[in-house]
């Protein structure tokens, strides 16, 4: 095993690693569902970038990157969006229920 050369893939890989650390910190420590959800998405962005450098280093056969991890990331971004949307609707509904309870009236 030898040290990776200092190129774009390495730079963005280190960025991805730091983004995962930052996102994890937010998911664990932040108060409020919305902020945690945001932090989780930041973390996801870092994970996707790490996949991206695997793709970049697998460049060959005339492609600028290995197409398989790239396709995985595209699927991942779409699924992450769906999960986020569902979570946000849940958070909104929870907030609605809370304010109903607080004002003493249900629906």
């Amino acid at each position: 095993m030898s040290l990776a050369p200092l190129d774009a893939a390495t730079l963005y890989g280190l960025m991805g690693a730091i983004l995962v650390g930052l996102g994890l910190y937010g998911v664990v420590l932040l108060g409020g569902f919305l902020r945690r959800l945001l932090a989780f998405n930041l973390l996801g962005g870092g994970v996707f970038i790490l996949f991206g450098i695997v793709a970049r280093r697998g460049a060959g056969a005339g492609f600028s990157g290995d197409p398989v991890p790239q396709a995985l990331v595209i699927t991942g971004i779409v699924v992450a969006f769906c999960a986020t949307a569902l979570a946000i609707t849940l958070i909104e509904r929870l907030a609605e229920e809370d304010s109903d309870d607080a004002s003493g009236g249900g629906s």
Binding site: L14, V28, G60, D66, V68, V78, L86, I88, S107
Partner: protein
């Protein structure tokens, strides 16, 4: 060298925006930070040569996710700020730093030679008739995944709908249209929506041979539908509408229909009969684009809010 400086700048900017988003004082500021994060990540993906992913990140990461987050930011009362103790912050910070350091080690000590399926993709791409390797992977090698992915999007939409109040089941989502909202928004929507529809269709169309494709194009089309509804030009359809439900189901039905036809004709589920790969993939892509655009727009619109 010049390129490396630019990459370093983009990386630092991305980390700075992410850190700012974590630390931001209020929810609205954090949402703005997150949208900015999506925009700079698009630059990073472009620099990595992953143009397909850059398109997806620009459309979904910055655009669609940002808009649903804003909706929540405007409606949810900010949570009382919990100030974790200094000790908790130090311990969690150290653990997260350790995770980042571990990942950095993996980045810095890659396996030699780098694992890659690029050669295999190149070998089989010709049989799909497509020029875009990522489109080929999504529609042939990982066709079952792509099919399930559209089902996941549909399930997410059902999940969003089922979180509405019982009395409003089947009604229209989103705020009631306001006439005379004034301002520049209606004019903006009247000009941008047609332009955006053309661009969305173009992105799907070039996706066969160049970066682009159905998810990116469908998100652009969905964004235009949301914009038209924000400007009060159109109202979201009732979620119980028969036509709407067929529109949502059309993509998955076409996909699974062609997939099932592959069993007798090509010997496997989702296999394409030789000679018909490209036209069949295009038919699936078009049907999926229409359904995905409707699904994504309705997911962003949220649960029904008006009784049917």
């Amino acid at each position: 060298m010049m390129g490396l400086i630019l990459d370093g700048g983009i990386a630092l900017l991305t980390i700075g925006i992410a850190a700012w988003t974590i630390r931001a004082a209020d929810d609205f500021a954090a949402v703005v930070g997150f949208v900015a994060y999506g925009l700079v990540l698009t630059l990073a993906w472009t620099r990595l040569g992953a143009y397909d992913v850059a398109l997806t990140e620009a459309a979904i990461g910055g655009g669609a996710t940002g808009v649903i987050l804003m909706r929540a930011g405007a409606r949810v009362k900010p949570a009382p700020a919990i100030r974790p103790s200094k000790r908790a912050r130090i311990i969690v910070g150290a653990l997260c730093a350790a995770v980042a350091a571990g990942l950095s080690a993996i980045v810095l000590l890659p396996p030699q030679p780098a694992p890659s399926l690029a050669l295999e993709v190149r070998e089989h791409l010709a049989s799909t008739g497509l020029g875009n390797p990522i489109g080929g992977v999504l529609m042939a090698y990982r066709a079952a995944d792509t099919f399930l992915e559209t089902v996941v999007v549909l399930l997410a939409l059902f999940g969003v709908w089922s979180l509405g109040r019982d009395a409003q089941w089947g009604g229209r989502p989103g705020p009631a249209p306001r006439s005379g909202d004034g301002g520049a928004l209606p004019l903006f929507a009247r000009v941008l929506v047609p332009a955006g529809i053309v661009i969305g269709i173009y992105i799907v169309w070039v996706g066969a041979d160049a970066p682009g494709g159905k998810f990116q194009g469908a998100t652009i089309l969905a964004a235009m539908a949301i914009l038209a509804s924000m400007a009060g030009l159109v109202q979201a359809p009732p979620t119980s509408g028969r036509r709407l439900r067929w529109l949502l189901a059309a993509g998955p039905i076409v996909f699974v229909g062609i997939g099932l036809a592959g069993i007798p004709l090509a010997g496997a589920f989702l296999a394409y009969p030789p000679g018909f790969e490209k036209p069949l993939i295009l038919v699936i892509e078009v049907a999926l684009t229409v359904s995905l655009a409707a699904m994504l727009a309705l997911i962003v619109a949220g649960p029904p809010e008006h009784a049917p």
